[in-house]
């Protein structure tokens, strides 16, 4: 797109799509749609309900006026946005400040041939600008301008040549099999069923019996504790299959046709079955890379890769999900390495020099785990009495192997300006960042740490998820922790690495892996 000469009207003020009011209305009504439905179906026809109808009509009018009043202009190096009805705001957004571009298209958007574009910067709690909605062509033009950093007719051709990574339907199916996201949905369904009293007529025991009845219909004599046991096993299997089916469906909804593209300076992803999400960010704005696998994914030879981009919008889950996050929801380890090498060659896993934690780290993990499991199973002791002993013993054995496995794998690497930490047992995770991306260093020790002569070191980065893993290395020897803190400290203020000479025209710009001070 950017290679096209900028049309003569580029510097004029533009408006949103004529049907924008519909989308603005739908976006704003989304939080109150459930109460509205309840009112519609359960309403008693009271006079005050008219107020709510009047409110909805007023909202529609507001959306209409708002979207007519919204103007924007693509300047040479900044975007001008004018919006508001009563208080007009006029914002100048330099292209360099835009950290993330998120494009969203749901089926309704596709019917009208439009897209919602959301531009985010590092600061602030709301996006810099939300274009809700503009035509797809206008969205692509604006994205091309933002990607190149300035409105320039001679900008390099759009790098979206061929994708760095793309998911085939078989791969999305595998992704669904590996994930358990469907469990959340099923849990919510059970909770809803509980709420609305579906259980009152049928207790859990009856449900188990019923399933057992279906499974062993022929054998009338099949009663007693053994039947109960098999029914529970069958029910669990059924639940597992249901979770996997839902997970597969959700994987297709989110990642059907997923593609990752990068020209070395920007990285963009796109995917989704009904609602298509397109997100992009400049590569040097990526704060941290997170990659991981699970026991099952190792059997299939697969791994995942995600990134964190700095933004003021940290806590808003809805926005978070549309931000550039998944670089590769699933891919072979070789493919993941290839992607990482394009983004920043220094962050490739096998280049790290892994150092183990304190030799007695596994004991700390085992003790903590044992305490947690014991406390967690206390109710079972009341219910089962002495029968709880074998259960508890089995948990302790699993806990022992878990702690051993965790400590064997856990390690950190602080080498050549890159800090990395890996941990996990069945599910494993690697966190990698350029030390110069660090925002603060913290060395801390609990009373237990001090008794064992240990401490932990954390390198804080911007844009990390509040609930996600922290780049924090626990169970280090105290001297080791001090040395690590000193090493991080000496490298955190390192001057940004000079970008390598621009890739020569002939070579594939995508593969010219620059040393980005990530």
């Amino acid at each position: 797109m950017a290679s096209d000469p900028i049309p003569a009207g580029a510097a004029t003020l533009r408006r949103l799509h004529p049907f924008s009011w519909l989308f603005v209305l739908l976006t704003r009504l989304r939080p109150i749609v459930l109460p509205l439905l309840v009112l519609l179906f359960l309403g008693q026809g009271e006079w005050w309900e008219l107020f709510i109808v009047a409110g909805a009509v007023g909202y529609a009018l507001y959306s209409l006026i708002y979207s007519i009043g919204f103007r924007y202009r693509i300047g040479t190096d900044e975007l001008l946005v004018k919006e508001g009805i009563f208080s007009r705001t006029e914002r100048h957004i330099p292209y360099a400040r835009i950290q993330n571009i998120v494009r969203r298209r749901n089926p309704l958007h596709r019917i009208f041939g439009v897209a919602e574009l959301r531009l985010e910067s590092a600061g602030g709690t709301s996006p810099e600008a939300v274009m809700n909605v503009i035509t797809l062509a206008a969205a692509e033009e604006l994205e091309a301008v933002l990607r190149s950093g300035h409105n320039d007719a001679a900008a390099p051709a759009d790098a979206a040549t061929h994708p760095l990574h793309a998911l085939s339907p078989a791969e999305v199916l595998r992704l669904g099999l590996l994930r358990n996201r469907g469990g959340v949905l099923i849990g919510a369904m059970f909770a809803a069923a509980w709420q609305f009293g579906a259980w009152e007529s049928m207790s859990v025991r009856d449900a188990v019996r019923t399933v057992g009845g279906w499974l062993f219909a022929g054998t009338q004599s099949f009663t007693g504790p053994l039947a109960m046991f098999f029914s529970i096993v069958a029910l669990s299997l059924l639940l597992y299959v249901a979770i996997k089916l839902f997970s597969i469906a959700m994987a297709f909804l989110e990642f059907h046709g997923f593609q990752l593209r990068s020209d070395g300076s920007r990285v963009a992803t796109e995917g989704g079955l009904l609602t298509r999400h397109a997100a992009s960010a400049r590569v040097e704005k990526i704060q941290r890379l997170v990659t991981g696998d699970s026991w099952l994914s190792r059997r299939l030879g697969r791994r995942w890769l995600s990134c964190e981009v700095a933004s003021g919008l940290q806590l808003d889950d809805e926005n978070r999900s549309s931000r550039l996050q998944w670089l590769a929801p699933i891919g072979t380890p070789a493919k993941i390495d290839e992607i990482v090498a394009v983004l920043d060659a220094g962050l490739v896993l096998h280049q790290q020099q892994w150092q183990p934690l304190h030799p007695r780290a596994w004991r700390r993990v085992a003790k903590t785990g044992a305490l947690m499991w014991t406390l967690g199973t206390l109710p079972a002791w009341y219910l089962l009495g002495l029968y709880a002993v074998p259960v508890w013993l089995a948990l302790m054995v699993v806990n022992y192997f878990g702690a051993r496995g965790w400590a064997r794998f856990a390690a950190y690497s602080c080498h050549d300006g890159v800090f990395a930490y890996r941990s996990g047992w069945l599910s494993r995770e690697w966190l990698l960042t350029r030390i110069a991306k660090g925002q603060g260093i913290e060395l801390s020790s609990s009373p237990f740490d001090r008794r064992a002569g240990m401490a932990k070191v954390e390198l804080d980065t911007a844009g990390a998820s509040q609930i996600g893993s922290r780049l924090q290395v626990p169970y280090l020897g105290q001297a080791q922790a001090r040395a690590l803190m000193a090493a991080l400290r000496s490298q955190i203020d390192a001057l940004p690495l000079p970008a390598l000479a621009a890739p020569s025209e002939g070579t594939d710009g995508r593969l010219a892996s620059r040393q980005l001070h990530l």
């Binding site: 110069a436 925002q439 203020d493």
Partner: protein, 155 residues
């Protein structure tokens, strides 16, 4: 100015914490005390007062040890703050990563000429570092020196 430069707590900071602990303990024991007196079960009043005084003496020990553990050093590359009684924490905020700072004073702190310095970064988990109980002039000097230099903030 010579670096590294250590900043100590205000000499009267123990007094500030004494009054703060006293107010909190009094507030905690108040419902029990009043409830006991009104209902006539004076045992409740006695127990709540005893519990509050125990809490008060423990908190006095805690703040004394907190004061001993406190260390705040301005170094050439940033601010190093170490503190904690049970959980020791040593935080280094690189000078170039500081987004903004804040000097606050509560009513008792103002009486003693004390202030709290808050240092904010763009980080996630260590984005706000609080240094409580500094001499007001020290806090202002620290603030000015921390913001003196600019550089690449790494984002």
């Amino acid at each position: 100015m010579d670096l590294p430069k250590s900043f100590t707590l205000h000499p009267k900071v123990q007094d500030l914490w004494f009054w703060q602990s006293l107010i909190i303990c009094a507030l905690v024991s108040l419902p029990g005390l009043v409830g006991g007196l009104i209902s006539g079960y004076w045992v409740i009043s006695v127990v709540s007062v005893l519990a509050a005084s125990l809490l008060f003496s423990l908190s006095l020990r805690y703040v004394r040890r907190y004061g001993q553990s406190f260390r705040c050093v301005l170094e050439s590359d940033g601010l190093l703050v170490a503190r904690g009684v049970f959980w020791h924490k040593e935080t280094l905020i690189p000078r170039t990563r500081i987004q903004h700072t804040d000097v606050q004073q509560g009513p008792i702190a103002r009486h003693y000429g004390m202030a709290t310095l808050k240092v904010f970064t763009a980080g996630t988990h260590v984005s706000e570092t609080e240094v409580e109980g500094l001499v007001h002039e020290d806090a202002l000097a620290l603030r000015d020196q921390l913001l003196g230099r600019s550089g690449n903030d790494g984002i």
